[in-house]
């Protein structure tokens, strides 16, 4: 028996005081996460993997055209070919990169615009707040899909204009949320103290307010992403979003929709338009499950009520 075995109160207290690392906290939370959240996380992981490595995973090219259109499922064309003879399975994989990438870029842009302006409005208050809030009120008075359709008529549907239009329209909602949660934080004493210290607007935004409003914003990011993702899918489905030959799930549904009528004779044929639609649905379900769990975790709205 050596000295190391003797009892030391300070050692025990010190041990208890040791903070869990961030990673350990995440692991602990994950082990308590419900099955729906696990399902969501795993699905999101798979989608991201496919989206990142699509050129390596796809057996054929994105716009490579084969001899037989509407070919049935077999070993060369795992899910058959579409109306002009492109491999559906490969397009599905390339579609992950395009659809998810564009939706992610749009959401990030809308958070940049909406979040930044929302914080600025909440902190500075006064006429800037009034002006921005009233402007957002007007923009939100037009349903966003309708507004997007009108703007697409004017600017035409290229990927760039699609991202800009939807990001701007969606940033109105981000602005509202950011402003409303930030307004509660800006009246706190520590923000006042920072202002009196003479800190700049950017510093106050980044160091004092942002960390305190992060949880609702992260949850909103998930919700906004799935909303943007659905809007882009809907626009592509209407033939006004991502244009061919770029592979995209919304337009894949549109192009092959007529094959549903053969469901009675060959169920696999009817699956050709259903699979990309299901791919869209599965990702949004997964994101929503994770957001739901996260909201439950952070909102303080726990099971006691």
């Amino acid at each position: 028996m050596s000295e190391s075995n003797t009892y030391s109160a300070t050692a025990e207290v010190g041990q208890l005081r040791e903070r869990r690392s961030k990673w350990a906290t995440i692991k602990l939370e994950l082990s308590k996460a419900p099955i729906s959240a696990w399902f969501g996380l795993i699905v999101i992981g798979c989608y991201l993997f496919v989206a990142l490595f699509s050129p390596l995973l796809a057996p054929h090219g994105e716009a490579e055209i084969f001899k037989t259109p509407f070919a049935p499922w077999d070993s060369t064309h795992l899910l058959g070919t579409d109306q002009i003879g492109r491999d559906v399975f490969s397009r599905l994989i390339y579609g992950a990169t395009n659809t998810i990438g564009i939706a992610l870029a749009t959401t990030l842009l809308s958070f940049l615009i909406g979040g930044g302006l929302g914080l600025a409005a909440a902190i500075s208050g006064g006429w800037l707040d009034q002006l921005l809030s009233r402007f957002v009120d007007v923009l939100m008075a037009i349903p966003s899909l309708i507004f997007a359709l009108m703007l697409l008529t004017i600017f035409g549907s290229s990927i760039f204009s699609l991202i800009c239009i939807i990001a701007v329209l969606d940033s109105t909602r981000v602005f509202r949320l950011t402003r409303s949660v930030a307004v509660n934080v800006t009246v706190m004493d520590y923000v006042e103290a920072a202002k009196l210290r003479g800190e700049k607007l950017g510093w106050i935004m980044r160091r004092e307010i942002l960390p305190n409003i992060m949880p609702p914003l992260i949850a909103e990011f998930g919700l906004r992403f799935s909303f943007v993702f659905l809007t882009i899918a809907a626009l592509s489905f209407l033939g006004l979003g991502i244009q061919p030959p770029t592979a995209d799930w919304g337009s894949m549904v549109r192009d092959n929709a007529s094959m549903i009528q053969f469901a009675k004779y060959d169920i696999t044929a009817a699956m050709t338009p259903m699979i990309p639609a299901a791919a869209i649905a599965l990702l949004t379900v997964a994101v929503n499950f994770v957001v739901d769990w996260f909201l439950h975790k952070t909102s303080g709205l726990n099971d006691e009520h």
Partner: protein
Amino acid sequence: MHPILGTVLQRILLGIVTLFFVSLIIFSAIEFLPGDFTQAVLGQAATEETVAAFRRELGLDQPAPVRYVEWVQAVLSGDLGTSFSGRNASGIDRSRSVVDLIEPRLWNTLFLAFMAAIVAVPLALFLGITAALYRNSIYDRVVNASTLTTISFPEFFVAYLLILFMSQLWFDFPAIANINSDTPFWERVYKCILPALTMTLVIVAHMMRMTRAAIINLLASPYIEMARLKGISKSQVILRHALPNAWAPIATVIAFNLAYLVVGVVVVEVVFVYPGIGQLMVNSVTTRDIPVVQACALIFAATYIVLNLIADIIGIVTNPRLLHPR
């Protein structure tokens, strides 16, 4: 003047101002068109004279404010202009007035929206309120998980799932809702079953979740807890304390979802080839037929604004606390 009346009038005024700015935005859409759009409309072979005459007809030789006033006057008197399609280089004008194009389709769209709403609204309110009251029970969890799933489905996925099962595999409901003005009422209803069902499913999910959240939010407020602690019965808590304050959020939820319904028809109409205003708008966007797009956008936006206005007014009238915002 009674303070509630004052607030309501203020809110109506705000709605009118919003409508004004929205009309300004929609009007200015034509300003941003590329300069050569007249050629795109009339065709490459259009002569100078035809182009000039077309621009004069659109009033493009006048300053924008003058045209805005004229446009608003025309819209108020029920004239939405003429469509771009049907014109050609020779100057022969076969275009139709936008009102003629829109009117029959507007009724079709309203019919479909009404059919969906009449089922969806009571169902969603019932599910939402019961789920909130029996929070965290198995019932709540099942309803919650299934609505979370449907909410994440794109409308066209729900629509095609219904077509696959209800019209191809199991039953034989019509997959194409091709109605016209002569279709008798019950046949109309029969053909609209699948599109209406699609919209009902989507709306119920949204509405049920919003109702549930609103009620839970309400039940968590301190005065409800106080009422519970006083020991009065559960039904008394709900009827006497919670309900008077619940009208406002419920009205908001209904209005929001009816507005969503009006917009959600766009995709559903395209899937089921239903001759409504949403399908017209999509076709006009494809052909860049600005007057029709403007008219449709104006109708959708006005519906949206009016529905939200009504919800706010119901909220003000039923909830005196709203009279004193912080």
